[in-house]
Symmetry: C2
Subunit: 306 residues, 2 copies
């Protein structure tokens, strides 16, 4: 089975109580791809400007990342984001953002990628997500992400887009914003009713350090985060979670509730590597043995004794 991600590739500057980094590689598609690549090959679709540093290009030279959908657009500039975290490390405050090439036309999905079976549409304008999805022939599982911006300003388009896909990943504040419901278990059920009827109907509410709440059709389960002493920078945690999740599912080639629970554990573990370092360092240091060991520890923590 084949996995495709569409999302941003950016240059980030991040300030946290534990340090600062300037002009590092970031973006949803980048974190997603590195996390997914722990479990399967991933096809990347995204666009950068002609200013994109060649030193960052090596991040796409992973044996399991296929960058055939990476467009370097002449005359355009790469997306840039600057953010700051306070001591709680829970939510980023955006201090500067230049959409640049992301405000232009979307990149094309290469013809060779049109047969992708699992698709992740990272957060962007819901109309754009649908335009990208329209280039995939017969996907079996399509999951999107969103942001408060799209919920606030493009609610109707967003809700319409959900009818064409199998599920959505969003954080607790976004789930409350979308539904107007404080109780996340109720919000989960409400959002599930918005997605495509004849699919697995997935809703995942991410709660950062508190783990996540998942609906898989009528089944609901909660999973805590991997307990981490060492949180340096939460940037990319959500996309790493989604990458680990969909990478695991693609590797297994099935989407039943048991495989989904294992996949949520895999996503949780990949997110834990991301937050332990700045930029991609955590994911890049998470070699096969390290991922397998932490995933085994996490599953043991969740189940042993019960």
């Amino acid at each position: 089975m084949s996995l495709l991600v569409t999302g941003s590739i950016g240059i980030d500057s991040v300030s946290t109580p534990h340090g600062d980094v300037a002009e590092v590689l970031g973006g949803s598609a980048v974190y997603f791809s590195w996390a997914a690549a722990a479990f399967c090959t991933v096809r990347l679709v995204g666009v950068v400007g002609e200013d994109f540093p060649s030193k960052f290009t090596k991040a796409f030279k992973h044996p399991r990342i296929n960058p055939a959908g990476l467009e370097k657009r002449k005359g355009s500039k790469t997306f840039r984001w600057s953010g700051r975290y306070d001591a709680t490390m829970n939510e980023a405050t955006t201090t500067a953002v230049d959409l640049n090439v992301l405000a232009e036309r979307a990149p094309a999905v290469p013809k060779a990628f049109a047969d992708s079976k699992v698709v992740f549409l990272a957060a962007t304008h819901p109309g754009l997500q649908m335009e990208l999805l329209g280039q995939i022939k017969k996907p079996k599982l399509v999951i999107s992400d969103t942001r408060d911006l799209w919920i606030r300003n493009y609610r109707d388009e967003l809700i319409k887009s959900l009818k064409s896909i199998d599920g959505i990943v969003l954080n607790d504040a976004e789930a409350r914003l979308l539904t107007g419901e404080v109780n996340l278990v109720k919000a989960l059920a409400m959002i599930r009713k918005l997605v495509r009827k004849n699919g697995p109907q997935i809703v995942i509410v991410k709660k950062g350090e508190h783990g996540c709440l998942v609906a898989h059709g009528p089944d609901i389960f909660a999973m805590p985060a991997f307990p981490t002493h060492n949180v340096l920078d939460p940037t990319g945690a959500g996309d790493s979670f989604a990458g680990g999740l969909l990478g695991y599912l693609t590797g297994k080639g099935k989407f039943d509730v048991a495989t989904f629970k294992q996949a949520v554990a895999a996503g949780t573990v990949m997110a834990s590597f991301t937050i332990e370092s700045f930029s991609l360092k955590g994911l890049q240091s998470a070699h096969k043995g390290k991922v397998a060991a932490r995933l085994a520890n996490f599953r043991k923590m969740l189940t042993k004794g019960l």
Copy 2:
């Protein structure tokens, strides 16, 4: 094995977005006892005033609650608390409190209770907790609870008291207040170093709807809350959690990490019954079969597929 609880018995008035109740039975020892009684017999030590309504006395007529330590003190008035929850239902705002009899001398632990093996010291002045504990001969497991008030104003006494006991249950804000550490995994490790060395060294950080984080000696585990659609009133959830936890451990008669994990699941389930109704209604409706079924569901949610 025998379980003893010392704590408050009060008359509560609670206002939530889902309704209001006035002058209902409450108090830490009451919630704890009803939750623990699902798993073992519980010995209750507490004091009320002569105004204590006789209609409330029937709450202690549970076949597994031994109220021999319940003192009805002449000339004194029962503890009263009024609180309000906002839409998030996360933390109560105290709108009125009359300590009344709780500001007087502590109740005595009956001689017949002095051989209790598991002891829960509900939140009160740490000096008073130690005075109560001093009346128990050779307890095997002693766990206390605390509040921000005691951490702020009696920090030294609190830290000193921890050296005599096996563990503490506190919420996330209290754990951060006690340690000055935002990362709860780090805070957990710091608090563990404060408790008695030659015991199991238990720290449980309660996070409401997000479940809890537990240290059992060097082992750390996280557990989500039971996903509940129907949160009417969180009052008593923490004490119900502690009651289910220590009741389960007492019933099993052992405190190893596997039994502890099962006990945390039991505590989580008892708390979920409490928040589904006002006052004790949720716990009182949770008959044996209902508890067993929900606990089995919860364990299945946590482990099945992984």
